[in-house]
Amino acid sequence: MEILLFGIIGVVVLFSVIALNALILVYMERKVSAWMQSRLGPNRVGPFGLFQTTADIVKLILKENIRNDQSDKVIYFLAPILAFVAPFAAFVTVPIANTIGIRDLDMGAVYIFALGSSVIFSIIWAGYGSNSRYALIGAMRSAAQMVSYEVPMITAVLGVFLIAGSLSMREIVTMQANQTWFIVYQPLGFILFLIAGTAEANRAPFDLPEAESELVAGFHTEYTGLKFAFFFLGEYAAMLVSCCLIVLLFLGGWLVPFVDNSIIPAWIHITVFMIKVYLMIFLMMWFRWTFPRMRVDHLMGFGWKVLLPLAFINLVATGAVVLILK
């Protein structure tokens, strides 16, 4: 009973936190892109256009649901749900301060990576289920993209696990409190993971499954209304997960630098964590509005020929050093 209650409260809290963050992120993306492109961005709805995203979501909810006549019903309906649920579920094991987090799993990292990868299923389902050629190409690309960046991403992050000796997110951060941030030990791993994490969140320059200029909207071409909103929010939730992971694994999570962290209250830890996450998100937005999109074969060549060998070098070097120091 207690567990059930805890679970329900956890889901509600998690959902509101993530939905709120996704709303903020959409607004932030539009403002950041506007700032980089010498525009104003949303400025009509509410003060500074703050409620623009809310208005957009309301509009999307009210819109008619149009389904392609020959689409595969079940898959078509499941895809947007999974797109949002997977990153949402990944948050269960993301701690935002030393004692604050829904649940700390021993295999936390594996759990997050597994759920992060399952977003790909929703893209493939959406592409296959909606009976549209653009969507199908987007899905095809996504499948190809997954195998090319998922492998280097996991390989790059193995170095961190070797040093920390744990897969639990909380313990990894605790290790960073005792030693130093892992970005110092793993600069190469950090860069590789940042690149792969951008690809994981399907963000430009790796947004091939939805490449607007080529595939109209890629895998979600045929989606309207609330289902589109789910994809939209899911993309931002996925970006949030990626950035949380980067911060937890490499940037010391909620730790305040150069200070004894045991005496700092939790609310400062939470604030510091959010600041770090939002800085990483800003970096990803910066990527998106600066770089052209990569071509699918270049991305795969980049994944297999550049990222993967570097990740292996990083892993072997880290392993050797850890072994010697022991």
């Binding site: 980089m36 190409i137 200029s213 080529e214 600066t290 770089f291 052209p292 990569m294 074969d297």
Partner: protein
């Protein structure tokens, strides 16, 4: 006559009628494919072509161009352009209007290079009716058409950036183009369809404010171009996406009648401002940028360099602007040129723009034919795209710099 050969240059096998009836791709619309499959039951695991219909409504066909693309995976096997969605019978309607009334139609053809489009028609009528244009008018024509070239290339740069995914470049291109539109608004009140260059001169004289705006713009242009080079040209992803992509040889380009920046990117410094100098161009000092690979990247570089050269021309013309009239003082309301025909060709932002006009002695032309650069340049698209990826299709199409109003007329 040179104009005879010129008209023949357009590949006649690309008429839209032929595409509709003879094209194997357009016959195979998705609905019919199922029937084909049913006829051959043993073909359960047969590989088949993936036909993708790109356009007429698509984010990066730059208007209403329809491409039927046969894909194998992501690789393009064939690509058939299907034209005519923006056909507005400008050639025919030009034959039922008086000579002065033709000029505003041309604005709507190449709406990004309206000044040049106006100019060709104005010169054709002037040659037919033997009207002498004051020198000041010629200078003003050069100034506005070169500014229009810069505006067109800026817009192209932005659209090309957006095509390959660098959306920010799009806004930057528009930002600087806006300054040029402000200048045009100052002299003729319009921002898109100017009708500024008219038979016998230009519509209005320039104002001191125009002069100031132009000089200010030319002062900031080099710094802005530097910005673009930093943002786009040096970007490794951009280089990978454009270098070698959609490359054509000089022979292919010539045989398809490709002109303008696309031809210059293939290694031929063919520019009518130098080859067949018209107006007051011989008085100015400028270069023709040439690159030799014929790929998307070289087309990009040619256009970026052309902006610098155009800026040079504008400042020279502005400094050397002679006093005098800006249009012919007394021009008949209904021009009646003697019987005869004329072919005028000029270097528009997109390439060679030609106007053929035939007079039967009445107040209306007997026949008008526009040779528009976008149409001829687009004709090589099927050749350029074969073997490239679907993502390259967008980049290659973008690098052609078509204006659909100019293609379909």
């Amino acid at each position: 006559m040179s104009h005879d050969t010129q008209i023949k240059k357009e590949p006649s096998n690309l008429s839209s009628k032929q595409f509709r009836t003879d094209s194997p791709l357009i016959d195979q619309i998705p609905g019919r494919k199922r029937q084909i499959l049913r006829e051959s039951p043993e073909s359960e695991l047969k590989m088949e072509e993936f036909l993708l219909n790109v356009g007429p409504q698509h984010p990066s066909t730059h208007g209403v161009l329809r491409l039927v693309v046969a894909l194998e995976g992501e690789v393009i096997k064939r690509c058939d352009p299907d034209l005519g969605y923006l056909h507005r019978t400008f050639e025919k309607i030009s034959e039922s209007r008086s000579y002065q009334q033709i000029v505003p139609f041309t604005d709507r053809m190449d709406y990004l290079g309206s000044m040049n489009a106006n100019w060709g028609v104005a010169v054709a009528v002037e040659k037919l009716a033997k009207i002498e244009v004051p020198e000041r008018a010629e200078y003003l024509r050069v100034i506005v058409s070169e500014l229009n070239r810069i505006a067109s290339h800026l817009m192209w740069m932005g659209a090309f950036g957006a095509d390959i995914g660098a959306v920010t470049a799009f806004l930057y291109g528009f930002r600087e183009r806006e300054l040029i539109l402000d200048m045009f608004e100052e002299i003729c009140g319009s921002r898109l369809t100017y009708g500024y260059i008219r038979v016998g001169g230009v519509a209005e004289d320039i104002t001191p404010k125009f002069d100031k705006l132009v000089r200010e713009f030319l002062d900031i242009l080099p710094a802005k171009l530097e910005d673009y080079h930093n943002l786009i040209t040096g970007n490794p992803i951009f280089l990978e996406r454009t270098r070698g992509v959609g490359a054509i040889t000089l022979e292919e380009a010539i045989s398809y009648g490709v002109t303008g920046p696309m031809l210059k990117a293939c290694g031929m410094p063919w520019d009518l401002r130098k080859e067949e100098p018209y107006s007051v161009y011989p008085k100015f000092d400028f270069d023709i940028p040439v690159y030799y690979n014929g790929d998307c990247f070289d087309r990009f570089r040619v256009r970026m360099d052309e902006m610098v050269e155009s800026a040079k021309i504008v400042i020279q013309a502005l400094d050397g602007l002679p006093e005098g009239d800006y249009k012919v003082k007394k021009l008949a309301r209904n021009i009646k040129p003697p019987v005869g025909d004329v072919y005028v060709r000029q270097e528009a932002p997109r390439g060679e723009y030609g106007v053929y006009m035939e007079s039967d002695g009445s107040t209306k032309p007997n026949r008008v034919k526009y040779r528009t650069p976008s149409f001829s340049n687009l004709s090589i698209l099927p050749l350029m795209t074969v073997g490239w990826k679907i993502a390259d299709l967008v980049a290659i199409l973008g690098s052609v710099d078509i204006v659909l109003g100019d293609v379909d007329r």
